[in-house]
Symmetry: C2
Subunit: 287 residues, 2 copies
């Protein structure tokens, strides 16, 4: 299969749905809608929603029922980026080559745009009508999930972490939401217990591989393609895989995780080819 | 009935449940847990959760099934206060007589404590196992609810509003969450459609009365009892009911709304006495 085409086609569907869902709520104040749309439109690979779609398809499901979950995951990811970029956190002026939300709308509206996206995500999740998936996403997002990981990350700045401690930060900050993208999509797609267990393993492995690949790109990526400064992690004294393990060992670890993730899918038919392709794409991507 | 005793007893039960729910999640990073608990413990009348409990009781329900909703509502209210107090918004150093969250934990952790409470609220709502109530709360909280109201409030600072525009800000910022406290409690308590409609009317009226009473207290309250500066609204050039209508007309309007709210409950038995008592308490309270 052509994974680039699969990613492009699904990204287009997700982009359209994200804006459609927001546009359906006529009562959102104008400036808040603009701020929420600004960050939703500011690019992004849509990896989490595409994983949800691909995971549903891998177990025989279709794209429509999984779309509210897919868009909710992207809104939660976008909420976390807006808050992460704030002066009180990473203090980033640019994201994906564009001024960050608070540089355009001011800090007050940026905080509320994040809050609005998080709340709206739960409205969307209710349309999926699966209480178990709503709870999974809430747990992956909340104080013992992504938000907890952001606190660990904030407190780790300037601190030399062990590989184990770094892995723990990543598991909270990015791993759990990526994992729930895969398992949530699978649950809505109708997965059985054995399929779910396999897909959870797949999701955990590519979540970590994705983060290692991000760290590597921050070292050797191209600033123009990345849309942010190369080497910003080193400047901010952030612990990263390349800093702790070296660049070559980091690349080897990412490739190993991807191989394991693909191997985990052995019992699946060609319906799981998008998941296999996404795993490979994770370590090959350039931004 | 003795409404003061009813409020005190239910506040104690809610306070205990709030901390118990948080303590059950062992994976929350220590500093984040402290920041979330700090603001949850920092007092508050627990009006929203008590309304949910009283509303469930008014239609024959019991307290236990409504407790996750009740605590979720208080967490969402607390999240909004933490973000509202940030330097980029109201820039308040004190709340309920204590330093605000960001003064104690720093802005970064304060933003994340708010995010954590909002996410955790949705975990709790899932325990209520009522998809309709989760959606109602998400809508009342999100960009066309409370968060939208905070944006309107932020943009209204220093602007002279009409009474209609001010009422619109309040309806979004505080009215919808108070209204959903009443209707959500009623739904979990097993209300029928007619009861729900009546209780929605009650909730809308006391939501507005509560806000007018707040504005009045800001003018003539006692700083020590309030735990914040008297006259801070005037200093911040905020439009308020006393500023627009005058103090006496504002008091008359609050009393009228309370009378209408109580009259709306005419078809209810003595089981709705707590709701009647809360309505009266709204305009009699001193903080």
């Amino acid at each position: 299969m052509n994974i680039e085409q699969y990613l492009a086609e699904n990204k287009a569907k997700i982009d359209a749905s994200l804006l459609r869902y927001l546009s359906e709520d006529a009562a959102i104040p104008k400036i808040l809608r603009e701020a929420m749309e600004y960050s939703l439109k500011a690019g992004g690979k849509r990896i989490r929603p595409i994983l949800a779609v691909a995971s549903a398809q891998a177990v025989g499901g279709t794209i429509e029922p999984v779309m509210p979950l897919a868009c909710a995951l992207e809104m939660i990811h976008t909420f976390s980026l807006i808050h992460d970029d704030l002066p009180a956190m990473d203090d980033d002026d640019f994201r994906r080559g564009l001024p960050t939300n608070h540089k355009v709308f001011g800090e007050g509206v940026a905080v509320l745009a994040g809050d609005g996206l998080l709340s709206f995500a739960f409205e969307l999740l209710c349309r999926g009508e699966c209480l178990e998936v709503i709870r999974d996403v809430a747990q992956a997002t909340g104080p013992s999930g992504m938000v907890g990981g952001q606190v660990l990350d904030l407190k780790a700045e300037g601190v030399a972490l062990t590989v184990e401690a770094l892995e723990n930060v990543h598991r909270f900050k990015t791993g759990r939401l990526i994992s729930v993208s895969v398992t949530g999509g699978a649950k809505i797609g109708g997965a059985d217990a054995a399929q779910l267990e396999t897909l959870k393993s797949y999701g955990d492995k590519i979540g970590l591989a994705f983060q290692i690949a991000d760290d590597i790109l921050n070292v050797e990526g191209d600033a123009k393609t990345l849309g942010k400064s190369v080497g910003s992690d080193a400047k901010n004294c952030k612990s990263t895989y390349p800093a702790l393990l070296g660049l070559q060992a980091s690349k080897a670890k990412a490739r190993e995780l991807v191989s394991e993730a693909i191997a985990a899918l052995d019992g699946f038919t060609a319906a799981a080819d998008p998941l296999r392709g996404i795993a490979e794409y994770v370590v090959l991507r350039k931004n």
